[in-house]
């Protein structure tokens, strides 16, 4: 995870993008509430996310790939695959900066 730069993600949209996601074990430690309240028991930080952010976090708590995440989101939220893919990657970038 540590050697992957955001540019790597942009460079190859057909590559396996799971390496751009935070470690599932790290995301897995987060306490997620249906309200969108998120608590990290290691850092003590708390966050609030919207419904799509919460859905992404729940998906990233298990080993998964970008295509699977986008497919799961398409079933619940409006938006074309390209837009959702971009949103997921951006969200994962923010997440990696916040949760270590």
């Amino acid at each position: 995870m540590g050697s992957v730069k955001p540019g790597d993600v942009e460079a190859g949209m057909n590559d396996d993008r799971t390496t751009a996601f935070p470690d599932p074990a790290t995301v897995g430690r987060l306490a997620l509430s249906d309200s969108g309240f998120v608590f990290d028991p290691v850092s003590g930080r708390s966050y609030s996310v919207n419904a799509s952010g919460l859905a992404i976090l729940r998906l990233l708590q298990k080993p998964t790939g970008l295509a699977e995440v986008v497919e799961a989101l398409q079933a619940r939220f409006e938006g074309d695959a390209t837009t959702l893919e971009r949103d997921v990657i951006e969200f994962a970038d923010v997440l990696r900066g916040q949760i270590k």
Partner: protein
Amino acid sequence: MMPEPRLTVAVTGMNAVPENPGPGIAVARCLREAYGPHVRIVGLGYDALDPGLYLGEYCDSAYMLSYPSGGSDAMLARLAEIHTAERIDLLIPCLDAELPQMVGAVPRLAAMGIRTLLPDAQALARRTKDRLPELCAIADVACPEIKPITSPTFFRTCRAEGWSYPMVIKGPFYDARIVRSAEEGAAAFNAIVAEWGLPVLAQRFVAGEEYNLTGVADGHEQLLGEVMMKKRALTTKGKAWAGVTIFDEGLADAARRLVKTLRWKGPLEVEMMRDAAGRYHLIEINPRFPSWIYLSQGVGRNLPALLAEIALGRPAPAVAEPRPGTMFIRYAVETIVPLGDFEKMIMGGALSRHIDPEGVR
């Protein structure tokens, strides 16, 4: 049926200025919640305006002590007077500045029948701020370089010695200020010297977030009941005004190694900075409970009660599993003090709600 003998615990640190409160009131509150009416709590303070002295819900009686600068003999003489009136079973000191004298007095306190759970003088000295790098090298814990300074000229010449800004300037017992220039450094130096005296310590700045751990060491290299906390709101002095429990095995492991290396006995607070890579750097070890110790009761790990049980030679009580995500938010509150109570404290240095303190002056 004989009534169960009541435990009498004396607790210092009854000061509670909001920006930097002493731990004594929180320790007394923990004891009260653990033992209810089966504990008699004796509050000990150094100023007649220490609010804990007047909080009858926590302190059954209260006394003024002589300042640590008055020497061990004066402190022990005063404790002996109070002991005559109160028959203290256990003493829990809560202030850094009094710890050296208290530790030195342990054999004489024991001879009086007053129990304590405190480190020995060597362990206490090994965790002073200027010796932390030496301790951490043995305990395999990261620690920023620390340098004692005796003159503000250091801040003009420090770059030649490999120091850079920002850095942290600290007093020997209290106070820590981040300075970003020679001017700020000199101002912090002068302010700390005026309040706390020399030496002043310069500590390299560690970028990251501060995490605190408190627990009780049993004297057999075991750290018991550790509670970890991240500050969520600070006072002007950088003290926790709100916080939340966390759990990180890495932080607990580092604290265990420090306890083992020091062969620590008694309460402690470990202050660490966690850098961007998740590595913990030791900033301070305080030889007492922190002022946020009531959080331990909030997560089922009442540490003052755990200390009392160990000090009395009883088995350490079981504590709850770690409970990250429990918050505290502090608030300031006024307590009404009858002028007569204040008069007793000013004129006699004692206030007892159940025992006539006559003779204890």
